[in-house]
C-alpha cells in the first residue's frame, strides 16, 4: 500500500548495507510471501524466524529429539504459499516440514538423501506437495508431504538418464523449470509431468541455481559459465513451448575469474544482482532489460563472500547471506521527500534566481481572500457520486488477497520485563507510603482537634462553674 504514495521516479537499486543481523550461524534464508517474516536455517539445525517489522527474532524451531551433536545443518528453507509451513532440507539427508503456528515438526522424511533445495509446489498453496531437488543420483521429483504411500513423480529430462538438477515452480504452478547438471534448462508441465522444451545454456556445463523473479516473469540461471543467463517467463502462454524464452546474458568484466555464486532479481525485476563465488562481498548490478552493467556494490569484507541473495518480495531491500553466517541487509538509500511534507515545497537541484514581484511586500487590502500555500480545494460531495467509503471490497494491493487463510504474522509473545514490574512495585510502594502518612497526619490532626475541643469544653465548664459559684 505504501507504493501508492511513493514518488514515481525513485531509484530502486540497492545501494547500502543498512543493517547486519545475526541469530546463530545462518546457512540459508527465505522470505515469506509478503516479506513480513524471514525464516533462516542455521548451522546447528534450528530454524529461526525473524519478524521484519521490528527486525527481531520471534521464534526458533529446533528438534527436541535431537541432541546438539547429532543436529545436522540446514541446507535450504522454503515457506509454503499460505505461510503456515516451512520445509527444511538438512545435511543428513532428511527433510523436515514444520508447522509454523504450532512450532512442531509435521513430518520428517528420512530417506530423501542430500538435496540442494526443497520447496513447496506453487500449484497447491496449502503446502501439500514438495518439489525436491536432490544433489546426487536422482532427477528432481515431486511428492507429497505425508510419510507413507507417496508417489514420486520424477521430472522427465531431455537426457537419457535422470540427472540431478535444481527445480523451481513457476508462479502459477503450472510449470516446473529444471536446471540440470549438464547445463540444460527444461520446462516441464507440472500436471502432466511432460517435458515441454529444453534450452542449452551457452557455455555452461552445470546449472547451479535457478532464480525466479517475484513477479513470475523472469528466470535466472546461475551456472558455471562466466555469465548469468536470463530467461523471460510467460506462464500463462497458451502455447506451452512459449513459456520460457531465452533473453540475454549478463557479463561483467570486473568479475573475478571464479564463477557466479548467487544471483537475484528484485521484486519488480528491474535489475539483476549477481555475486561471484569468491571471498569478496561484491554485488554486480545489471539493468535487466538491456543487460548493461550498472555498477558494482561493495559490502563489508568480513562476510568473506556471499552464499545467498534473497530479495524482499515487496520492498527494495534484500538479504545477502555471508559465509560467516551473518545476514547483511542491503537497501536503497532513503532520500527524504520534502514535498511530501508540504505540497508547495519543491526540491531544487540548482540555485534558482528568485525575482521579486513588485507588490510582494505590499499589504493586501482587506476583503481580498488570502489563499494559503498548498490549499486543497474543498468540494461538495454529490451523494450519487459517492463511492462506498468503508464498505466494498478492499483494493487488491497484493495478489494473495484472494487466497484465504494466508498467515502473515505470528502471534507476538512479549516477555515481561522485570524492570517494569519493579517500577510498578516501586510506584505502588510510594503511593502506599504517602497514603499511610496522610492517614497518620489526619489522625494526628483529629487528636489535636479533639484535645483542643476538650480543653475548650473544660474552659467553658470552669467558666460556668465560676459563674454559678459567683
Amino acid at each position: 500500500m505504501f507504493r501508492l504514495f511513493e514518488r514515481k521516479d525513485v531509484n530502486r537499486q540497492w545501494e547500502v548495507v543498512e543493517d547486519t543481523l545475526s541469530g546463530g550461524r545462518t546457512t540459508c534464508c527465505a522470505w515469506n510471501r509478503r516479506g513480513t517474516m524471514l525464516a533462516c536455517g542455521t548451522a546447528s539445525g534450528s530454524i529461526v524466524i525473524w519478524c521484519w517489522d521490528v527486525r527481531a527474532v520471534t521464534r526458533e524451531f529446533s528438534r527436541s529429539d535431537e541432541t546438539d551433536e547429532e543436529a545436522a545443518a540446514t541446507l535450504s528453507v522454503q515457506w509454503s504459499g499460505d505461510g503456515r509451513k516451512i520445509v527444511a532440507a538438512k545435511s543428513d539427508g532428511k527433510v523436515e516440514v514444520w508447522d509454523v503456528l504450532e512450532e512442531d515438526v509435521r513430518a520428517v522424511l528420512s530417506n530423501v538423501g542430500l538435496c540442494s533445495s526443497v520447496g513447496f509446489s506453487a500449484a497447491r498453496p496449502k503446502g501439500d506437495t514438495l518439489v525436491i531437488s536432490p544433489s546426487v543420483q536422482r532427477a528432481p521429483y515431486v511428492r507429497g508431504t505425508s510419510l507413507r504411500g507417496q508417489k514420486e513423480m520424477e521430472m522427465p529430462s531431455p537426457h537419457d538418464a535422470p540427472i540431478p538438477g535444481f527445480a523451481v515452480c513457476s508462479k502459477n504452478g503450472k510449470y516446473i523449470f529444471v536446471g540440470d547438471a549438464k547445463g540444460v534448462v527444461s520446462v516441464v508441465d507440472a500436471e502432466a509431468t511432460r517435458l515441454v522444451r529444453s534450452f542449452d545454456v551457452p557455455n555452461a556445463t552445470m546449472v547451479k541455481r535457478l532464480e525466479l523473479c517475484r513477479n513470475g516473469k523472469h528466470l535466472l540461471a546461475v551456472t558455471n559459465a562466466q555469465t548469468l543467463y536470463g530467461f523471460d517467463v510467460d506462464d500463462a502462454a497458451t502455447e506451452a513451448s512459449e513459456v520460457l524464452r531465452p533473453a540475454r546474458e549478463y557479463a561483467s568484466p570486473w568479475a573475478s575469474r571464479l564463477q557466479w555464486g548467487a544471483a537475484a532479481y528484485p521484486w519488480n525485476g528491474e535489475f539483476v544482482y549477481g555475486v561471484s563465488s569468491g571471498a569478496a562481498h561484491e554485488i554486480h548490478v545489471w539493468d535487466r532489460a538491456s543487460g548493461e552493467l550498472k555498477c558494482v556494490l561493495e559490502g563489508p569484507a568480513e562476510a568473506k563472500g556471499v552464499t545467498q541473495l534473497a530479495a524482499h518480495p515487496i520492498r527494495d531491500c534484500a538479504i545477502a547471506l555471508g559465509s560467516n553466517g551473518y545476514m547483511y541487509v542491503w537497501s536503497r538509500k532513503h532520500v527524504e521527500d520534502w514535498s511530501a511534507f508540504d505540497p508547495s515545497f519543491v526540491t531544487l537541484v540548482d540555485n534558482n534566481e528568485y525575482v521579486e514581484a513588485e507588490d510582494e511586500f505590499d499589504a493586501k487590502p482587506p476583503g481580498e481572500k488570502q489563499t494559503r500555500r498548498g490549499q486543497i480545494p474543498v468540494e461538495r460531495l454529490d451523494p450519487d457520486d459517492a463511492p462506498d467509503l468503508f464498505t466494498g471490497s478492499p483494493n487488491d494491493f497484493y495478489t494473495d488477497n484472494s487466497d484465504d487463510d494466508v498467515l502473515h504474522a505470528l502471534p507476538i509473545r512479549i516477555k515481561p520485563d522485570p524492570a517494569a514490574e519493579k517500577f510498578a512495585a516501586e510506584r505502588r510502594a510510594k503511593w502506599d507510603r504517602k497514603a499511610k502518612r496522610r492517614e497518620e497526619r489526619k489522625r494526628a490532626e483529629e487528636e489535636a482537634s479533639k484535645k483542643v475541643k476538650e480543653s475548650e469544653n473544660k474552659d467553658v465548664a470552669e467558666k460556668t462553674m465560676e459563674t454559678k459559684a459567683g
Binding site: D53, A340, L381, L389, F390, A420, R427
Partner: protein, 290 residues
C-alpha cells in the same frame, strides 16, 4: 468474553467484562491521567498511554505490567498497535510520533511528525503505513519501514484535527476536527469533502467505527453526546432523522463477540457499541471521572 477497557483521569485503568457485566479489576501504575488506552489486535495485551510520558504494556489476563516504554518528553496523547501487534505507535505532546517494538520495548524510531501536539495515530490495514493527525491541522502519512513522510493532507484553515480513520480501500481518509467537522479526504487527488459539519455545534472528541461491518460511525462529542451515523446517509446533508442520540438505554444481553468501540461520558455512562449494531449504555456505579 467481551471486555472493555476504561482509562480514568486518576491514572487507573479498569477492565469490565460485559457479558457478565462485572468489573474485573483495575491496574494502576501511572501517576497522572491516562490519555489513551487500547487493546492489541489479538487481545493479548493492553497499552495505556498517559500524561506522565510513559506507555505501559499490560498482560490482558494477569494484570501484570510487562513493559514500560520510556522516551517521550511529555504527555503521550495517543497510542495504537499495528495489525500484527509487533509495533506500537504513539503520538505525544512533544510533537513527535514514536514507534516502539512490542517485543523488546525499545523505541525503534522517533519521527518528528508535526509542528504541534500529535492527536491521533493509526496504522493502515496492512501495517505498512502510519497516519498521524495533529493540532496544526495536518494529517501525515508515513511509511513504517523507512519512517519517511509520504503524504500530507492539510485542511485549508488550520483546524485542530483530532482523529483519523481510513477507509478499508485506502481511497480516503476520515478526519475529525475540533470544531465539529468530519471531513473525508480522497487520497488520490487530495480533494476534501466535508461530510458532517457541526453536530449541534459541538466538538468532536473521538470518532470510531464498527470494525467488521464498517458502515456506522459513532462520534463522541464533548457535550456528552454520542451520535451514530450510518455512512450511506452521511452524504445527504445533516438529516436529522439519522442522528440517534444515545443517552440511557437498557442493558442489552445480546452483546456479540467483542465490541470495538467504547466511549465514556462525563457523567459516568459507558457507551458500548456491539457488533450487532446494538448500542447499549451502562450506568456505571463506580466513580469514573474522565
Amino acid at each position: 468474553m467481551v471486555n472493555v477497557l476504561v482509562g480514568k483521569a486518576d491514572g487507573t485503568c479498569g477492565v469490565w467484562d460485559l457479558s457478565i457485566g462485572e468489573y474485573l479489576g483495575c491496574f494502576r501504575v501511572h501517576n497522572k491521567a491516562i490519555t489513551d488506552c487500547s487493546w492489541s489486535h489479538d487481545d493479548t495485551f493492553i497499552i495505556t498511554a498517559s500524561d506522565d510520558a510513559l506507555i505501559i504494556l499490560w498482560e490482558a489476563s494477569l494484570q501484570k505490567c510487562t513493559k514500560i516504554l520510556k522516551g517521550h518528553c511529555s504527555s503521550v496523547i495517543c497510542c495504537c498497535t499495528n495489525g500484527s501487534n509487533s509495533l506500537i505507535a504513539s503520538g505525544s505532546f512533544d510533537e513527535t510520533v514514536r514507534l516502539w517494538s512490542a517485543l523488546s520495548g525499545e523505541c525503534t524510531a522517533v519521527i518528528p511528525a508535526h509542528a504541534d501536539p500529535v492527536t491521533s495515530v493509526n496504522f493502515a490495514k496492512d501495517d505498512t503505513l502510519l497516519f498521524s493527525t495533529s493540532i496544526d491541522g495536518s494529517c501525515r502519512i508515513w511509511d513504517v519501514n523507512t519512517c519517511g513522510c509520504l503524504y500530507t493532507i492539510s485542511l485549508n484553515s488550520y483546524k485542530h484535527l483530532t482523529n483519523v480513520l481510513f477507509s478499508s480501500r485506502l481511497t480516503s481518509v476520515l478526519l475529525g476536527t475540533h470544531d465539529g467537522l468530519l471531513c473525508r479526504v480522497r487520497l488520490r487527488d487530495g480533494t476534501i469533502a466535508p461530510i458532517l459539519s457541526g453536530i449541534r455545534a459541538t466538538e468532536i472528541l473521538h470518532v470510531s467505527q464498527l470494525e467488521p461491518d464498517c458502515d456506522t460511525l459513532v462520534v463522541g462529542t464533548k457535550k456528552d453526546q454520542f451520535v451514530a451515523w450510518r455512512l450511506r446517509d452521511l452524504y445527504r446533508d445533516t438529516s436529522e432523522e439519522n442522528v440517534c442520540e444515545i443517552k440511557f438505554m437498557m442493558k442489552s444481553d445480546q452483546c456479540a463477540r467483542g465490541p470495538r468501540l467504547f466511549d465514556c461520558t462525563n457523567d459516568g455512562c459507558m457507551v458500548v457499541v456491539c457488533e450487532r449494531h446494538e448500542i447499549s449504555v451502562y450506568q456505571v456505579s463506580h466513580d469514573i471521572a474522565f
